[in-house]
């Protein structure tokens, strides 16, 4: 059962792959209506590890009936809760090749060609961001890790300025006064990163946002001046490009100016809106991203890649030296010229070759089509906003931005909004988002599916309004 790449091995792989694909067949709808309890009982009735194995066809069929039949379908137009995309064909089939060849990105002698592919992709991405040829990056398992890596570098850089090697010696006493500033609409992974790094969530200052959700530069300036008086040091400013709920993009150029003035690292979390760089129409919204020290871009969001595929891109590749740890068995430093070991720029050791699927996708779809898919979704989201505005019982919480649209129901309590979302989910009718904006419960659409139509959106709006009065 070991996969080999001789003729026989590839034939076996092809027939097994067909079985796996057949197992995905299921009725329509965003999910089944099985209750959580019934689903639990069904899944837990599987025997995880029998003494003797069973026929692969049987196992895959059972997985289909038990698991895939009761999964959420991201290619269904009523799956609109999260930044949870359907995936593109070139990426999905390349996953098979990634798994069969099983390159590991930590050392060149586990991934010679793959290492060069990742470096080439990262150089291209750095150029797309607007960095010079000194830019580069690394693939990570997600935006949360990319943000953590960016802020890990920011922490090392702040420590270096006072002569401390923080990775070696730990946080210096001064670290108690270090602060990270982001908008109050930034992703919670900024706080998680601060927690992980030993600074604590309290080291993150949430700068007030405008009603639209973008960071208020006035509030940023006031905050920077206030904390300076308190003797605190802003080690990093984080701009958000595509807030999880409100979709908005912070004024990056203005934040960059403050970062320079206060000698802070400038990190941009463009996990959501990074893809806009592909579109001439949408790209201007990201103005200033090229001024960042580090940028998070998630390929597993609006590039329609299967999880996991994110990147952290640096303006200056040499900054990875802030992280580098040599290892005797992986990265000794005495390898032949050109044998790059990527372990030095990652928080992981073993790491899958996710770059392959991104490269296959970009080459097959091309920039122009990707750009029009993005533009279509942004337009679809604006259309949803119009429909919500027009509806007598629905209200927008903020103008729709990027691919998300947050709204509420006139006169509905938080409890009623919760019930609407949970009932639609329970019946398998719609996977709708629900969140809280500035203390107020709200519902949320997230449009990730280029196959969804304007009619689909109209139907979603009507279904929700009907459900409220039901």
């Amino acid at each position: 059962m070991v996969v080999t790449i001789d003729d026989h091995g590839l034939k076996t792989l092809a027939s097994a792959a067909s079985l796996a694909i057949e197992s995905l067949a299921r009725p329509g709808g965003p999910r089944s209506d099985l209750t959580p309890r019934a689903l639990h009982d069904l899944v837990w009735s599987m025997e995880i590890c029998p003494e003797n194995g069973r026929d692969l066809a049987t196992v895959l069929r059972e997985l289909g009936e038990t698991v895939w039949s009761h999964s959420v379908v991201p290619s269904d137009p009523a799956t609109v809760a999260h930044l949870h995309p359907p995936t593109l064909l070139p990426a999905v089939v390349t996953e098979l090749a990634i798994a069969a060849s099983n390159q590991s990105m930590d050392s060149w002698d586990q991934s010679p060609a793959a290492t060069e592919v990742e470096l080439h992709l990262m150089a291209w991405l750095a150029e797309l961001v607007g960095f010079s040829r000194r830019g580069s990056g690394v693939m990570t398992s997600g935006g949360t890790t990319s943000n953590l890596l960016g802020l890990t570098l920011a922490r090392s850089w702040a420590a270096q300025k006072i002569g401390v090697d923080v990775l070696k010696s730990g946080l210096p006493p001064e670290a108690g006064r270090w602060r990270i500033l982001c908008s109050d609409q930034a992703h919670f992974s900024v706080q998680r990163a601060a927690a992980q790094l030993g600074l604590g969530r309290d080291a993150v200052i949430a700068v007030a946002s405008e009603p639209s959700g973008v960071m208020s530069i006035l509030a940023l300036d006031e905050t920077l001046e206030r904390i300076a008086i308190e003797g605190l040091t802003p080690i990093a400013l984080v701009g958000t490009a595509g807030a999880t709920d409100l979709g908005v993009i912070d004024p990056l150029t203005e934040i960059s100016e403050r970062a320079t003035r206060w000698d802070a690292w400038f990190h941009v979390d463009a996990a959501v809106a990074g893809a806009f760089l592909l579109s001439d129409q949408l790209r201007p919204r990201l103005a200033g991203v090229e001024l960042a020290d580090s940028v998070t871009i998630d390929f597993h969001k609006l590039w329609w890649q299967p999880f996991n595929a994110s990147a952290l891109v640096l303006r200056d590749e040499e900054r990875f030296d802030l992280l580098r740890v040599r290892s005797q068995y992986l990265d000794r430093g005495d390898e032949l010229e050109g044998m790059t070991n990527l372990v030095g720029r990652s928080l992981d050791t073993s790491r899958r070759f996710d770059a392959a699927k991104v490269v296959a996708t970009l080459a097959t779809i091309g920039r122009a089509t990707l750009a029009s898919m993005l533009e279509y979704l942004v337009e679809l989201n604006e259309f949803a906003g119009t429909k919500i505005e027009e509806h007598p019982s629905l209200e927008l919480v903020a103008a729709p931005a990027s691919v998300t649209c947050v709204f509420t129901v006139a006169g509905a309590s938080d409890e009623q909004l919760r019930d609407v979302q949970q009932r639609l989910l329970s019946r398998g009718e719609m996977v709708l988002g629900r969140t809280t904006i500035k203390g107020r419960a709200a519902l949320k659409f997230t449009f990730m599916n280029p196959l969804a139509t304007h009619e689909d959106v109209e139907k979603l709006v009507t279904t929700i309004a009907d459900e409220i009065t039901a």
Copy 2:
């Protein structure tokens, strides 16, 4: 190009999958003999993102010629450098289903069945470790992250004992006296975790190992007493089950006793040897693992899963509360009963459904066959040790253990060992390991491939000996 699961979508997926599989065909050998420079030029000649896409068949064929042809082949018997396994058929084809269905493990409404599958698999794994029904775990992207997560919990636990919420407030002043103890043969990810957590690499004390490579309990006791006198607090003891180089397993029961006595968290890094729990013959080597607070087990090592697939298993599931952060849009806490959101136990947010491939593998292969594959590799490694011992010009550095065998060449300088390994790699003849044990350069075999034969091993030994004199 969006993957759908209707009849037409699945047919399209099947024919594209065939193309991806065809693209893997290549001549034999562990890798091509292309120089790093030539490989760089070849890969960087690809256009990453053309304006208009190209035919999928063409793109996949080019990826085959450019990338897969110049990859390392883990199913080749001369790929023996790292814990870099060939992969099993059920896992590889399930990757396709994982990518097509694209569940995200952070919230139930992105992965209803998948959430239950992961919880079921983790409950089974906890039971295999020997934990009570209170045990559970979470899938992570690798052993490095699993170790980081275990030590993140250890840090929170240590802080909690002195009334500090470290994730909220950051490291308290007492943290400057916190220490993590592991053997001098432990994986470098223990140091990386300490660096990440703000404690610094210097907070890790490497306890001397015996000549075999296992942690010396005498040295551990001496260290614990010495640091107590210095006013330092051991917050975690880390036992290694399957050292990266020497393959050995620390005396876990003895370490556990010290952890209890000194009120320290006991983490076991069983990334390598965790699979031995499946074998009646090998399982006794892990005695004491059931006494751990947390255990790292890598499915992408001796369970032959494609990267990434690791787990952190806890003796007491409630300990995940040490990590939990609620999020308004993902995990509000007011969901219907049974809608578990796994984001609370992970360092990631979006996360792929790696549990599916592990479940498919276990069900298809069964415990008995997996155990015999493991036993075979351990025996093959011992056979390699015998052949090295018998060879007049080779010397074992330590007795072979688990699946690794470290050796040197009589009278050879560090430089000569390096040259042997680099020449074999450059010519595409053998991907051989090289490391440093207690300051002395050494070569290393790692046997991960159940298709390798005793004849293959004899040939490896002869090739190396011949290369030295070449």
